[in-house]
Symmetry: C2
Subunit: 350 residues, 2 copies
């Protein structure tokens, strides 16, 4: 099972482009290094970063490669230098450079989190990309406290859903969020005080809160970045976390729309920051994990605690068999999901 040249079933990206570039097929697995663990994968989480990678936005990831930034399963082997994880543990893995959409993975132990007893695979698979990102936005950078207000763009998506729950855990908060109208009931149920549509959200927010809000989570990285800054109270914090607006359905990544978006995103001057008493931040969870793994481990421990206290509860939109990875990704690209989209790995040998 761990022989050299061994291949395992994997979602392979054969080139940049549309869904036709995805193939589910056997692909070689790397050897177990001293600091690695091998995991029999049960569930994988689907993320916007998978779409970026397929479209070719992350040029440092050259196809052919295996997609997938998060998975969860049971440890089947550990390297000689791994002390805190043992065979049989249930672990959650996160690696922003991908490689985890497979029925078995070998991954560095530093990229794994041992699940607390009783936590389901499905719930835990929703945590890394979405809840960690939301956690740093709301708690660490946002420093959200009782009585404050927050605006969450795409509040029905994975990060938005998580951010809503984490904001609620601060107590007595007001939450504004954009999503398409058919999702408004669902996000209200999750804790959003004022669901807004993408069209005219600025005016609508100011109608309820003329001074603006304390925190903004912006996943668009577009001209909305400038609009959103105007919605901030003095001392308000805006966190830019992504570029969802650059993902288009089923197409190769468009350099023109990418460049147009960056151009339309005005830079921030020190003078404006001072005159507006503004705090502007960016978050890249993957790079943060590479540079400060201990910070991530401690945030995940806190998330596990919040989960056990019932303060966060991932919402699973749908679970797809491994072979339906294209349908699962399409759901995200078309923004039809509410909450997390998962893949279930079903193999005979587990």
């Amino acid at each position: 099972m761990m022989s050299a040249g061994e291949e395992v079933r994997s979602v392979v990206l054969t080139g940049y482009g549309g869904y036709e570039c995805l193939k589910v097929k056997p692909w070689p697995i790397q050897a177990l290094g001293a600091g690695d663990v091998r995991v029999a994968v049960a569930i994988c989480g689907v993320n916007f970063s998978d779409l970026y990678t397929r479209q070719g936005m992350l040029r440092e990831l050259q196809p052919p490669l295996v997609l997938g930034t998060e998975c969860v399963g049971e440890v089947t082997a550990v390297g000689a230098a791994v002390a805190h994880i043992k065979v049989g543990d249930h672990v959650l893995c996160y690696k922003f450079t991908g490689g985890l959409y497979r029925d078995h993975v070998v991954v560095a132990a530093s990229h794994c989190f041992v699940l607390p007893p009783g936590m389901s695979y499905e719930d835990s698979a929703a945590l890394p990309a979405n809840y960690l990102t939301a956690y740093f936005c709301v708690h660490d950078i946002g420093h959200m406290r009782a009585g404050q207000s927050i605006f969450i763009s795409s509040c029905a998506g994975g990060v938005g859903w998580a951010a809503t729950q984490l904001a609620c855990s601060a107590g007595d908060v007001t939450i504004f969020g954009t999503c398409s109208p058919e999702k408004h009931d669902a996000v209200r149920e999750n804790g959003v005080t004022h669901p807004l549509t993408y069209d005219g959200y600025e005016q609508e927010l100011l109608k309820h809160s003329p001074d603006g809000v304390d925190i903004i989570i912006d996943n668009m990285a577009s001209s909305a970045f400038t609009i959103n800054q105007r919605l901030l109270k003095p001392l308000g914090r805006i966190v830019v976390i992504g570029a969802n607006s650059m993902v288009t359905d089923s197409q190769k990544f468009g350099w023109w729309s990418f460049l147009r978006l960056w151009w339309s995103t005005k830079n921030v001057s020190a003078r404006d920051l001072i005159m507006q008493n503004r705090v502007v931040a960016g978050l890249h969870l993957g790079l943060l994990m590479e540079r400060q793994p201990n910070t991530i481990q401690s945030a995940m421990s806190h998330l596990f605690q919040l989960y056990e206290q019932g303060k966060i509860k991932p919402h699973i939109d749908s679970i797809w068999p491994f072979d339906k990875v294209v349908e699962a990704m399409r759901l995200l690209a078309e923004r039809k999901n509410v909450g997390k989209v998962l893949l279930r790995v079903e193999t005979a040998d587990k």
Copy 2:
């Protein structure tokens, strides 16, 4: 004493320029409005903003005008609509547009803070511009916690001195700060772990802390802003609070050096913020007070508490008679002070 057209001794700026533009002379005091209090001034604080105003950097303040952004004294009259302040109270006043260097002032009650019993005039006069600014940098924006590190530029100045004490109150912190070598003993005594010189501070800081620091307070608003960003850890917060490097001794404000400084201050892009996991902020205490007076009142209450607990203790560099205002301002401009420079108002009728 409160008749129409009454004049009181004041520090009047007669035009933009050098110290020759300052005259101590009688100047009309405004009538007491319903929301105002009248204060017999005991002590005034001298700040960099007084130098900016004199040099003409704040063009919205047109001479002739009375200088001075902070003072403390005893209330001698209150307007009909003032509920929380009474005659005889000791109050601290802060108004970033100035007008407080006089032996009696009329000021809006919303710009006053009633002193806790037993707090000296000298100590309290050091609080508004310096300790409030430092408070928002370290606590509110900086969100400083035990075990973290901070870099404070100009750590021997008023704000730097206050920020050092406030950072220490978080417990187990590492403090880097720049100031001229002859002040290193004094700032070390105040809590700075590693006093640095302005020349080569970047390399020196990284020698002690290769990953950078958690918080930076930057009062230069110059090309140092770009250098300083490189000294931030992921999730690190940099707060820009001023433009001290634009103040030159005894000269009229130089537009060329002003423009050169702003040009050399590179704007911040959303992309860089994301890729570096960086938080960039600006703070303008005066504008914050205009827009969110309640935020300032609650911060000042917290400062009064910290003072009573002995966690902060203003350091008075020197106290000058009112007539020596030029000498007092020169001390700041030449950066010869350590801690706060004050003026004492001595009049016969109090």
